[in-house]
């Protein structure tokens, strides 16, 4: 008896042909639909641009008085209204911006955006947070704070915090630490950016926090933020941070004093060139260079013999900036 493909192969092959034909037809139909949609969009682009401009003009005209807006606004979708308001919020300042916030409240844009937000999937919630942040105003701040405090997803809370930072409405440092669970989570550059945004208005609270019992990562986060406080009264707190047993806190103190650029930090910064930790020495060398501390030159020159190549490199760069050779 000759070997041949079994009969079941025919059945499977028939099934495969059916799947392939229907699958390919479906994909062909989809791409055809997308081509037609794209073509239609390209033809309507100029109309859409005109509509967007009309919408913007109508909103601008309605800002001074609490009257109804025109027909373009009435027919626009929530997304189109938000896009127009978001565009204007980047252009307006002062009283006009306040009037735009009042307009947003009158037309309940934030409420429309955040309706049933808890039931949306994660990516959609993040998009809603971004839209609310782009609209701005007191209602947006309330909604974002609500999401920051209560949303179950860390991604949404982080996005809400970033949006609050964008509109200079971050809550207190303690509230932020709690909402972002920083006592347990890994501190990332984004957290550091948020705390730096908070620093100019919360220097006193940050100094108090630095004195409290916190994890080294949170202490480093707070110490780093003090460098953006624009307040020289934090120098004493930074000096204490520079004496911390945790290297990341000492590095954060160096980064902070480097940004503040106050020569008062030199007294504790230069000795850090002899720290036990190589990364602390490297950061200190870089800071001495950027702060122009010529008093550090002898120690920078001595670091040319440091066992760490990173320290040698940073010391050499700093010495070059200060006009010498390490």
């Amino acid at each position: 008896m000759m070997l041949r493909f079994p009969a079941v192969a025919d059945e499977l092959a028939g099934l495969a042909i059916q799947i392939v034909i229907w699958g390919s037809l479906a994909m062909s139909a989809l791409i055809l639909y997308l081509v037609i949609r794209r073509d239609r969009n390209e033809r309507q682009r100029s109309v859409q641009q005109v509509t967007a401009r009309t919408l913007t003009r109508e909103i601008m005209a309605a800002l001074p008085q609490a009257e109804d807006v025109g027909s373009a606004f009435a027919h626009a979708s929530v997304a189109e209204r938000v896009a127009a308001v978001s565009h204007l919020s980047r252009l307006l300042r002062g009283d006009d911006l306040d009037r735009l916030a009042a307009f947003v409240e009158r037309h309940e844009l934030v409420a429309r955006l955040t309706r049933r937000v808890a039931k949306r999937r994660l990516a959609r919630r993040v998009n809603i947070v971004r839209s609310v942040g782009s609209v701005g105003g007191p209602q947006a701040v309330t909604a974002l704070n609500e999401l920051l405090a209560n949303d179950p997803a860390a991604e949404v809370r982080l996005e809400a915090a970033a949006m609050l930072a964008r509109i200079d409405a971050l809550p207190s440092a303690r509230a932020l630490i709690e909402a972002l669970e920083l006592a347990h989570a890994t501190v990332t550059p984004l957290h550091r950016a948020l705390f730096r945004a908070l620093a100019p208005s919360s220097a006193t609270e940050l100094v108090e926090l630095l004195a409290e019992e916190q994890s080294p990562d949170v202490q480093a986060l707070v110490a780093d933020a003090l460098g953006s406080s624009e307040d020289y009264s934090v120098l004493r707190a930074l000096r204490s941070a520079a004496a911390s047993p945790a290297p990341q806190v000492r590095i954060a103190a160096i980064a902070a004093i480097s940004r503040l650029g106050h020569p008062g930090g030199a007294a504790w910064l230069i000795p850090l060139l002899e720290d036990d930790d190589e990364m602390v020495r490297a950061h200190a060398a870089r800071a001495c260079g950027s702060m122009g501390l010529r008093a550090a030159m002898p120690r920078l020159i001595a670091l040319a013999e440091d066992p760490s190549p990173w320290v040698r490199l940073r010391a050499s760069d700093a010495a070059e900036i200060l006009g010498g050779t390490a």
């Binding site: 000759m2 070997l3 791409i31 971004r130 550059p189 990173w310």
Partner: protein, 479 residues
């Protein structure tokens, strides 16, 4: 046993072998298509559920520039005197708060070095190399007073892997971005590429990004000024291949944390991890696949938590081979590189110690790169022969061609639809239709010729041919 019996036995064994081979061919092409469908579905889910990159990162980073992780962009260059100045100017104009460009002149025999020194007013300096990973001698290091973030390393010729290793040794940033000198990075490509590191807990060790083909597009001053579809069909077919590779395969693999390949044209790595594993290998033509596989192996052997990410957004443009010879060289090299990596890391195959990489990702490479090309190509001949010998039905023959040719078209169209729905970087509706048409005809010849090129790569692998065959690019179109 009579001679007739012997003949019958040989005939039955021969026929049995043919049927077995036909069955294997059928199974392999079916498996490859199932893989493609799964990848397409996973990619669609990823696009649907992903959190899109936010402008907030760029805003916060522009306010607090020193928080952006510093990046060393390592660009190896060899005999590129005509284009190198434009490429470097393009790199220096990238939108990123803190980056340095480390150019490595890999022993060019033309005037690349002189051109760079002259164009960027570079002067020699004494610079200590932080770690030595290259095999060849460093001839000099140059800096530019005009561009403090530009460093030029001149070294003896040693191919791309060696040049990148030299660059890693001189780089000072925690992240290194490895590119080809002729890669065109999007102005915000570094921002997009490093965005995942901004909110990372320290486990992210590498990130790849989507690369597109720039043939036909207007390129000026090292930037893509206007996206245009290439006039030739060969680059158009490659546009589809790149879409399938980047928008389905890599996104799906990345979602399952089994990404094995970050393109050599653009990849961001933690410098410390590259140094730990000794940098790129010099003895393979597929160094980009090998290094990611080795990172997986290293991290899993050390039982360290890690991730290798992928961003679907376009970060970089590259020039695809415009003629058959260049394409042949490129595809042969890719195939050879895949086989070299598989053989070098065979210990990981089906080894539970390496988790999903050993149990799933590498076996899939075997189906795709070892069994796939010969089974499909052989199947085109064998399945009709089986039919002519009366060993199988016409339905099976039709099914084989439907699965390879027709379904290939379906997958390509599905990927194109995904691109249009999510990224929309095809210039116009008319161009979208042209690419869709290319998807129909690429399966009638181009696909099969590509299989021949890959089998040539297998031949090179078995011959241990280490000659680097150029992809023969012709340069970008100007505005």
């Amino acid at each position: 046993m009579t001679s007739t019996d012997l003949f019958l036995l040989v005939q039955r064994v021969g026929v049995g072998a043919l049927v077995a081979m036909g069955t294997l061919c059928f199974l392999v092409v079916t498996l490859r298509n199932i893989m493609s469908v799964v990848q397409l579905v996973l990619a669609a889910i990823e696009f649907q559920t992903r959190i899109r990159p936010a402008a907030r990162s760029y805003e916060l980073w522009s306010r607090y520039a020193d928080l952006a992780p510093p990046v060393s962009v390592i660009a190896p260059c060899y005999n590129e005197e005509l284009s190198i100045a434009d490429s470097v100017r393009s790199l220096l104009s990238l939108q990123y708060p803190d980056f340095e460009v480390v150019l490595v002149n890999d022993g060019s025999s033309d005037a690349t070095l002189a051109r760079l020194i002259d164009e960027f007013d570079m002067r020699p300096v004494q610079r200590e190399q932080l770690v030595v990973l290259q095999k060849t001698r460093i001839l000099g290091v140059y800096v530019s007073d005009e561009h403090p973030n530009l460093l030029l390393v001149d070294k003896e010729n040693g191919r791309k892997a060696d040049a990148v290793n030299a660059g890693i040794g001189f780089s000072t940033a925690p992240l290194v971005c490895v590119i080809d000198a002729d890669s065109i990075i999007e102005p915000d490509g570094l921002l997009r590429g490093t965005e995942p590191f901004m909110a990372d807990d320290g486990s992210l060790v590498a990130v790849g990004g989507t690369i597109r083909i720039a043939n036909g597009s207007a390129v000026d001053g090292g930037h893509v000024r206007q996206i245009r579809l290439p006039a030739g069909w060969l680059p158009r077919y490659q546009i589809l291949e790149y879409l399938r590779a980047f928008l389905t395969a890599r996104i799906a693999n990345s979602r399952l944390n089994m990404l094995l390949l970050i393109s050599g044209a653009f990849g961001i790595f933690r410098r410390s991890v590259l140094v730990e594993i000794g940098g790129y290998r010099h003895d393979t033509v597929g160094e980009d696949l090998e290094i990611v596989t080795r990172i997986h192996r290293h991290m899993r052997e050390q039982k360290r938590p890690y991730r290798i990410g992928f961003i679907p957004d376009v970060v970089c443009w590259t020039e695809a081979p415009a003629d058959w010879k260049g394409l042949r060289n490129q595809r042969s090299r890719w195939e050879q590189g895949a086989l070299e990596t598989l053989v070098r890391h065979r210990k990981m195959l089906f080894n539970p110690r390496y988790g999903r990489i050993g149990m799933v990702a590498l076996p899939l490479v075997i189906i795709e790169d070892v069994l796939g090309p010969p089974c499909e190509l052989f199947g085109y001949l064998l399945v009709p022969i089986l039919y002519l010998l009366g060993l199988t039905s016409g339905t099976v023959v039709l099914a084989f061609f439907a699965i390879t040719v027709l379904f290939g078209t379906g997958i390509s169209l599905g990927t194109l639809a995904l691109e249009e729905l999510q990224l929309r970087r095809t210039p116009s509706a008319r161009d979208l239709l042209k690419v869709a048409f290319a998807a129909l005809i690429e399966n009638l010849g181009y696909r099969q010729i590509n299989l021949v090129f890959r089998i040539r790569g297998m031949w090179r692998f078995f011959r241990k041919d280490t000659v680097w065959a150029s992809a023969g690019r012709v340069g970008f179109s100007k505005l």
